[in-house]
């Protein structure tokens, strides 16, 4: 048994490489994905129970989808002391097993994207599991802000980097103050 196989069995790596791709340029901030996610997973409409989140920056007219990137070398996987988090070898999704979870919130702390949410009321974590390979949020996204790529290995990495770089470089530079002069300042 080679290392790769071993990692697949241990739930550290998957064979298919599914992933959500967030196109910041395309997102209009309608938050349909949030509602679709919470309804699909919990049967209620509630953005706070959604696995995906849209950050609406009204000041600059930006809308940024934030969700789990299913990192290859995922900090949450490493941080989880009880192996409550594991990788689904069929979809590449990192999945949370609530039975093993002790609620230490380590995963939430180490996630560089802020993609793991904790619900105080229900005492559970919300974490994107790619809906077993058919993500509900993608079905409701009409602008192409979220796409599902089943074979991320073949997704042009350069293209992806270019896109993010283009987006970041084109971010409006100055923020406040707006030149409208109302008020004291």
């Amino acid at each position: 048994m080679d290392l790769l196989h071993f990692m697949v069995i241990m739930g550290r790596l998957s064979i298919t490489m599914g992933k959500l791709i967030f196109n910041y340029e395309n997102c209009t901030g309608c938050r349909a994905c949030e509602l679709a996610c919470s309804f699909h997973k919990e049967g209620v409409f509630s953005p706070s129970k959604s696995r995906i989140k849209i950050v609406r920056i009204d000041e600059e007219g930006l809308d940024i989808p934030i969700g789990c990137e299913q990192c290859d070398n995922a900090p949450c996987l490493t941080a989880c002391p009880t192996r409550a988090l594991s990788r689904n070898s069929e979809t590449n999704g990192i999945i949370l097993n609530p039975d093993y979870c002790i609620g230490c919130k380590q995963c939430m702390v180490v996630c560089p994207f802020g993609a793991i949410h904790f619900n105080e009321e229900r005492k559970i974590f919300y974490k994107c599991d790619l809906c077993d390979g058919a993500p509900e949020c993608v079905k409701w996204c009409v602008t192409g802000g979220i796409e599902y790529c089943e074979d991320i290995e073949n997704f042009s990495k350069r293209k992806s980097a270019d896109r993010i770089q283009h987006f970041l470089l084109n971010l409006p530079k100055s923020t406040r103050p707006i030149g409208t002069g109302g008020g004291k300042k």
């Binding site: 309608c30 600059e60 007219g61 409701w140 406040r176 109302g182």
Partner: protein, 659 residues
Amino acid sequence: MTFDYGGYAGKTLRIDLTKGKIIKEKQSKQRTEKYLGGRGADAKILFDELNPKIDPLHSDNILCISTGPITGLLGPTTGRVNVTTKSPLTDIYGNSNAGSDWGSELKYAGYDNIIIKGKSQKPVYLCIDDKHVELKDASHLWGEGIFETTLELQEELRGFDTKVAAVGPSAEKGVLFCSLIFNLWDAAGRTGTGTVMASKNLKAITVSGTGELKVADPDKYLEIVRDGWQGILNDPGFRSGEHQALGTPICVNWGDALGWLPTRNFRETTFEGADLISGEEFRDKYSTRSSPIPGGRACMSCPNRCKRFGRIESGKYAGTRGSIEFEGIAAFGSKCGVSDLEAVFHAYTLSNDYGMDCISCGNTIALFMELVEEGVIKDEDKLGLKFGNADAMVEMVHRIGNKQGKLGKLGAIGSYKAAQKIGKNALDFTTAVKGIDTIACDPRVAKGFGFTYAISSRGSDHLRTHVVFEMIRMPPEIGKELFGSEGACDLLSYDGKVQLVLWHENLAAVTDSIGSCRFMHGSYYAQYPIPELLGKLHKKKKVNSIKYHDWISAATGMKIDYKKLLEIGHRIINIERAINSRFGIRRKDDMLPKKFTKPIKKGPRKGQSFPKEQLEKMLDEYYTIRGWDLKTGFIKKSELIKLDMKDVLKELEKENLVM
């Protein structure tokens, strides 16, 4: 479920600012059954609780902010929030509607609506954070613009998760047409709702919610909503790119081509500089995003994304940024004869930051320009006021916003009251109906719009019906089938227009009351039964459509069919009429200003007018169908009994306001 019906959050929030008291009460079941929510329920609250004789800026005036049963439930275009009060601008029923995701957030926090009374001793803001509702000190925000206020509150509270509704410095100073502005760019613009809020020393309302909403029949609900989304995405109007490509600013070139774009305070109906202030120009020069939807931003769960975000990078107005809409471009652009898009955009964001309604602000400036050119008033502040002077236009926004200078002070009371104050023949130049000035579409060309202006419950406004049927060249067969006349779909024809307006008005009342957007009702998008009729016409087998009756039923669990839906709309129109009767509105107020009864002098629509006799004839037909008295405009007793509004009848009988 805490409430008897699904979709609703189930609670009403009552704020008494004088005593600093906050009461959470259960949503009224009876009210939601009869009036659904939003605009309808607000009107009922105002009818029941407001003393009609008070001054709108008195502490006893009531400010209602409310959502509907389908707000925030994944349905297309369901991000609306309604604001209702007695308007300081018109002194009658005032109501306005805004987008963004503020309304949905209020529902996630657990409240369908807020009823605000009284007046606080010192400036406060209302902080709603799920169960925790608190009035907090806002003296550090008093005098700040919308921009600073909103960002400051977001920083203080939960960052981008906090949604803010704020009023600007102009509202504090008492400019009569101020808006309540949600999340920086979405305004409940008309009728001066912001002025009322500021008069109560309430600077802002912040909301963040983590709760959940349930629907009565989840499986069926999802199916209906999916059909609705598909209906919009397959709609020819949407696909051909109107909202997909340009948002509402597309109307600049469109209105110019069809000859209804108000130019130089409605002197003409085409503008030679339309190209320079068009949606295309804005997209190419100022959109912050290049593709695929340039600058497009959406309200809560909306496929329409009609807002266009842009930014001026260099030059005189560098740093100006914001979401732009057609009405704003027309108000500061064509109506003032200004063809400098940067100045228009700047004036637009300025009036937004001051917290003023851009339509009324632009109209007032346009009126002053015309009055100066006609020699009725003098350019007392020496600004060089004349059509086309962009600098004077921008300066006037500052002056009105700060109530500075003679014309600034005069402009702050709105165009109609200003014209009254000026006297002479100034009123002949106003475009106001019931005290509020007209939006950007000439009623002499678009007859359905014209009739709407006359009958609207809040005064000259198209959004009470939004009869774009006549503008998009709907097949005449549809007009025949739905409104009994092929002419109903023709811009210049009067045939079938009363029926067209009636149908749209009823549905508009319903859509406002359930929390859905005007762009989705009737008109050209996918609302039942239009796709079905078009499908029959083009022999299509499968059509997608938005069936509001099924949608509301599945969400709430009420049993509402298409017929009952129209009846609810009719009831909402009647409750608004009842309130307006109390405020003194009679048949003579359902009119068009003198300006529109005279023919257009120039351009392709030369000679078109909306004669008084024609309007009277249409009013007769309209009143008869509505069940209103032909002479006074009061509602008939029999109509109120038929609509199961006996409580309203009882009150009106006491005041002799019913026939």
